[in-house]
């Protein structure tokens, strides 16, 4: 029992994988530790880069800290009592936890899409227009119309909704609601989009539509996506990171991870072996 513990600590002591070479870092995490209350640590010494215009997939068993780390990237964890973080996370070289960063503005720059589509109980139009109004992105109504249209087009939802913009967002199908949430995120013109299991509640067709959308979005945005689907990670990401017990075990080109991962723990996980 004790021996196993030592072995696992050794196995987890160092992250393997290629450092980011094909790309410019957009977000960098350095020696990041996250605690829920003082005594329970959820993330240990994580170092990882999100490359501009690339998709980083985050995979790993339930409870390994994927959502925790993702939420650090736009300071969503600030809202959780007792949650604290050490280390440094930078966006374009600027420390996002420094005192002169406004978390609300940060979250506009680093948007988030959640597992369950969560449209506001408002019209489709207002769902998308909410952020731009809040952040003063449009100066008049016709500009706002343009932003809404543009965002819905980018999210691949325009055709289906252009004649029902005043209908409630909650009346859409699950896949459409998720695309609405993506349109809402895009509307505030973020640089980075964080997605936490964005298709886990969707059928294969809706999933394929979202995946295709992510593929199109990455030319304008930087994306990090948490997923429990190995195949999804393999299909959509440029790089893939594997987390285990709060530690980053491996981060590598996705091509490598799914054909010849460097770390045995990654291999055990993606091939469905006992770890």
């Amino acid at each position: 029992m004790n021996n196993n513990k030592v072995e696992l600590d050794q196995q987890l002591s160092e992250t393997v994988g290629k450092p980011l070479i094909n790309g410019t870092p957009k977000i960098t995490c350095r020696d990041v530790n996250v605690f829920y209350n003082q005594d329970s640590q959820a993330i240990f010494d994580v170092n990882v880069d999100l490359a501009k215009n690339q998709i980083l997939a985050m995979i790993g068993p339930s409870g390994c800290g994927k959502s925790t780390l993702l939420r650090c990237l736009n300071r969503m964890n600030d809202t959780i009592d007792g949650c604290s973080i050490t280390g440094k996370i930078s966006l374009d070289g600027e420390d996002i936890y420094s005192n002169d960063i406004d978390p609300v503005l940060l979250r506009a720059k680093v948007g988030m899409v959640f597992q369950k589509p969560n449209p506001f109980p408002k019209s489709i139009y207002d769902n998308v227009a909410y952020g731009p109004r809040l952040h003063g992105i449009a100066t008049n109504n016709s500009e706002l119309d343009d932003v809404v249209e543009e965002s819905l087009i980018k999210a691949g939802l325009w055709k289906e909704t252009k004649d029902r913009l005043n209908k409630p967002g909650t009346g859409l199908s699950g896949g459409q609601q998720q695309r609405l949430c993506i349109a809402r995120t895009i509307a505030v013109r973020p640089d980075v989009i964080l997605m936490d299991e964005p298709t886990s509640a969707l059928d294969p067709i809706a999933t394929a539509t979202i995946e295709e959308l992510m593929h199109e979005l990455k030319s304008s945005y930087t994306i990090a996506v948490v997923t429990h689907s190995m195949q999804q990670a393999a299909r959509i990401s440029d790089r893939c990171s594997y987390f285990h017990l709060g530690r980053l075990v491996e981060v590598n080109d996705t091509n490598i991870v799914f054909t010849n991962p460097e770390h045995e723990l990654t291999e055990n996980y993606i091939t469905g072996r006992f770890g």
Partner: protein, 233 residues
């Protein structure tokens, strides 16, 4: 080295194990084919040449069944990493095995034709040596596959150079002979074809060894000159 049988899904373990056993039995059949064919050629035991053709039906059927098994696993399990390399390798290995079966059939056919022909006897010493190495390569390659022994597989694949060298010597000998004795062109050509088939069996065995290295290390060493593997997995 990861074991095949450690998946959470026992059914998946069973499917992979079953596939591997099928490849090994197919390998056994091809070994038998090649052994029968070379015995027929070298010892003139042409009554067993017929068996080579019969075995070929079984070998072909196994190739089809194994390919089908691989397609099922890919569709159902979406294998990744070592499992993906493993399935990919099975598909390649059975292709090489099936070709070795075809080469054995050709040898057996020529064996029957050459059996009455005393003129070709002079070359059997060289053929015998080539056959010996090719047989050993095939047996060892299958053994390496069964144990996923990549280090040994590299050694075995290097044996191919010996066959190639022997083939060249024999070719030179046969050309000289052709010039001296034009009446025997036909039997000399048949000997050449046999030598060529034996040499091909060596090539296929070498391929199998290269796939084993790929399964274990995730590195493709085909067509790499002097490819050395550094890391110890």
């Amino acid at each position: 080295m990861l074991n095949i049988g450690q998946h959470i899904s026992q059914e998946y373990n069973d499917e992979l194990e079953d596939l591997r056993n099928q490849v090994l039995s197919m390998g056994g059949l091809v070994e038998q084919q090649f052994s029968d064919a070379s015995n027929a050629l070298l010892n003139g035991t042409i009554n067993i040449a017929q068996r080579v053709t019969e075995l070929d039906y079984q070998v072909n059927a196994m190739e089809v069944a194994i390919d089908e098994g691989c397609a099922q696993i890919i569709a159902k399990r979406q294998p990744t990493a070592i499992d993906l390399r493993n399935i990919f390798t099975v598909i390649k290995v059975v292709t090489d095995l099936e070709r070795m079966g075809d080469e054995s059939e050709k040898i057996a056919k020529f064996a029957s034709e050459l059996s009455a022909d005393t003129n070709s006897m002079g070359f059997y010493k060289n053929l015998k040596h080539m056959t010996f190495i090719a047989k050993k390569m095939l047996t060892d390659a299958l053994d390496c596959y069964a144990r996923l022994d990549a280090k040994k597989a590299l050694e075995v694949s290097n044996m191919d150079a010996e066959i190639d060298a022997e083939f060249e010597i024999l070719n030179r000998l046969l050309s000289t002979y052709l010039l001296e004795d034009t009446k025997n062109i036909e039997s000399i050509l048949k000997v050449t074809w046999c030598a060529r088939s034996i040499e091909r069996v060596g090539d296929h065995a070498k391929n199998i060894c290269e796939y084993i290295v790929y399964v274990v290390y995730g590195k493709d060493i085909r067509h790499v000159i002097d490819g050395k593997l550094q890391d110890d997995k």
